[in-house]
């Protein structure tokens, strides 16, 4: 990939007192790529994402998102990205249609675009019949797919997904990844964190985080060869063990 990177991260650090949740990480993400951010719980994935999307200020280091600096241009960054958080993030006491309208409004879409987007989205998810159903009446898999589509409503250049498939059954996860692929095929860059190793196989490139550091970075095949493993599970266990040795 010879293109200009859409995300550049250099020596990024987030310290809470003497504890470094994110410890000096550097990487690039290229347009249209599905970039997997892997690691055990507490490895620092969410902290890293929060800095990249402008929620938290880094302790030190540099990063740019879509060409914007994460210290100075957080407002511009927020307009060009989508974000789906670890916790389910739609309003459960609003209907599907109302949620779409709300987030369309928040991202500054005009009334006509919101209307068009709503129909498009309902068709795509085959949820036309349920447009006026409250979110809390929907199955979790649906909610997750809907949350993803809503996070994409303003057609961002890059979308950050923080453990989007936590607690979802394998079939729904599969379907969810089909949505991700569809978005990537249209040129959206996907930045996804997960701790499911089978999902890692779906990514173009992965970075493995251990104790706030990046312990491995490359395509799934490169990592498997590099760590002499037959699947990603093995890669992860080997990397995690090295991490422990490093401490």
């Amino acid at each position: 990939m010879a293109k200009e990177p859409i995300v550049t991260v250099r020596n990024l650090v987030k310290a809470f007192g003497s504890f470094r949740a994110v410890d000096n990480i550097s990487f690039d993400v290229f347009p249209g790529e599905i970039f997997g951010f892997l690691g055990a719980n507490g490895a620092g994935k969410s902290t890293a994402i929060k800095m990249l999307i402008g929620l938290w200020r880094p302790s030190s280091g540099q990063a740019t998102i879509a060409g914007f600096d994460i210290y100075r241009d957080t407002e511009k960054i927020k307009k060009s990205i989508g974000y789906m958080s670890q916790k389910f993030s739609l309003y459960t006491d609003l209907t599907i249609r109302e949620n779409i309208r709300l987030f369309g409004g928040i991202y500054g879409l005009d009334r006509a675009s919101i209307k068009r987007k709503t129909e498009e989205l309902l068709d795509q998810l085959q949820m036309q019949k349920y447009a006026t159903a409250m979110i809390h009446d929907l199955p979790l898999g649906w909610k997750q797919k809907l949350a993803f589509s809503v996070a994409m409503i303003h057609e961002p250049k890059i979308i950050f997904l923080d453990e989007p498939t936590g607690g979802v059954d394998p079939i729904t996860r599969r379907q969810f990844w089909e949505l991700i692929y569809a978005a990537a095929a249209q040129g959206t860059t996907i930045f996804v964190t997960t701790h499911y190793m089978d999902e890692a196989e779906y990514c173009d490139r992965i970075s493995m985080m251990v104790n706030g550091k990046i312990a491995g970075l490359g395509t799934p095949d490169e990592l498997k060869t590099g760590f002499d493993s037959s699947d990603m599970d093995e890669v992860f266990i080997k990397i995690a063990r090295e991490g422990e040795v490093m401490i």
Binding site: L55, K78, M84, S85, F88, S89, Y91, D93, E98, R101
Partner: protein, 367 residues
């Protein structure tokens, strides 16, 4: 602006779809004012009273008539001699005995001052006090009707109850209930609704959106401003039409001060939500730090003058105290701006202080 409207719409949906929230918003003001107005009033009606009439003349009959025909007293019987006085209270019903001196009418007509003896059952001092005040009010009326006949004032009245001559308790409760309700709706409910977004994780998504933190907070509190204002209107209207509590001063002034108090309460609510991580914490904090002082130390239930010194000092930092003073002045005395500006300045100071504090806290949290 589009963002703002979309967000405010969503907030109204939250409120209107939650029956509990609605109950607090609409049911609470109605329930509270009825409760305080009817049940917990400190006024007494139809208190049984006995008369020892040594005069048995025009004046004593007129005064007795006035007392019994008022809603405060009912005649429990006549006494024939002073000896019966002691046992008069033993029936457990009689609250007061009124003793008219002999030749009351003659003395009054000849321009002399006369004393009427009131003996009240002081096992319940508050009731006794109130009853004595009622009689004084009635005697003052009697004086007035004598004045019309251009006679000099002859029955001496020591106290007169200003602005609320019949001492109706509900007059005092209306401003207090407004203060409590505004605190409840503006401060408690906003703090809970903001912490709910934190708890659910939606706050994170909002902060990651192009909406500025300030916009999010303002959009969140706007519906509560509207609803608090509505509550204030409900209470005032019920006070007026159910209990006949007047607004003697300018309604506009009263509503403007209420708005100031709402803003103050909102800033307190925001401040609490920056500290509290969960809805429960926000609820507890609001109850302990806001509701309790507002109810106990604002002069709403317990008069500030009769509090021990340390509590009197503390009551100065309870914003509701100042609001109640202003509301009472405007509603009962009909005071204008020139009499309440000091208290308004104090409220304004509080409001600015809390807004500054919450902005500071909010920024720290975002770091």
């Amino acid at each position: 602006m589009k963002r703002f409207i979309a967000f405010v719409t969503k907030e109204f949906h939250h409120i209107l779809r939650d029956p509990r929230t609605l109950l607090i918003l609409i049911g609470m003001p109605v329930a509270q004012i009825l409760l305080f107005g009817y049940a917990i009033t400190n006024e007494i009606r139809e208190a049984p009273v006995k008369i020892l009439d040594d005069a048995k003349d025009e004046a004593s009959r007129e005064i007795t008539e006035k007392m019994v025909s008022s809603e405060f007293f009912s005649l429990a019987g006549f006494l024939n001699s002073e000896e019966e006085m002691e046992s008069a209270f033993h029936d457990g019903i009689t609250k007061m005995v009124v003793v008219f001196p002999p030749d009351l009418n003659t003395s009054l007509e000849s321009g002399q001052s006369e004393s009427i003896q009131l003996i009240a059952d002081a096992t319940d001092p508050n009731t006794a006090n109130t009853l004595v005040n009622y009689v004084q009010g009635i005697l003052s009326d009697y004086n007035k009707s004598n004045n019309i006949e251009s006679l000099p004032i002859q029955v001496n009245i020591i106290t007169r109850m200003h602005f609320n001559p019949s001492l109706e308790g509900v007059y005092y409760f209306v401003p207090g209930i407004i203060a409590i309700l505004l605190m409840l709706v503006s401060a408690m409910m906003t703090s809970i609704s903001i912490t709910r977004e934190k708890e659910l994780g939606t706050m994170e998504v909002l902060l990651a959106s192009p909406m500025l933190p300030g916009q999010i907070i303002i959009a969140k509190v706007v519906p509560y401003v509207v609803l608090s204002f509505l509550d204030a209107l409900i209470i005032l209207a019920m006070g007026k039409f159910v209990f006949g509590v007047p607004v003697n001063g300018s309604l506009l002034l009263l509503l403007s001060v209420s708005l100031l108090f709402i803003i103050l309460a909102l800033s307190l609510g925001i401040l609490i939500s920056t500290v509290a991580q969960t809805q429960q914490t926000a609820l507890l904090l609001s109850l302990m730090a806001l509701m309790l002082p507002t109810i106990m130390l604002s002069g709403f239930i317990f008069p500030i003058e009769s509090m021990p010194m340390p509590l009197q000092v503390i009551s100065n930092i309870v914003p509701a105290r100042w609001f109640i003073v202003i509301a009472k002045d405007i509603m009962l005395k009909g005071s204008g701006w020139e009499l309440i500006w000091k208290e308004v300045v104090i409220l304004l100071g509080f409001a600015l202080f809390f807004i500054a504090m919450s902005i500071k806290k909010f920024k720290v949290r975002l770091e």
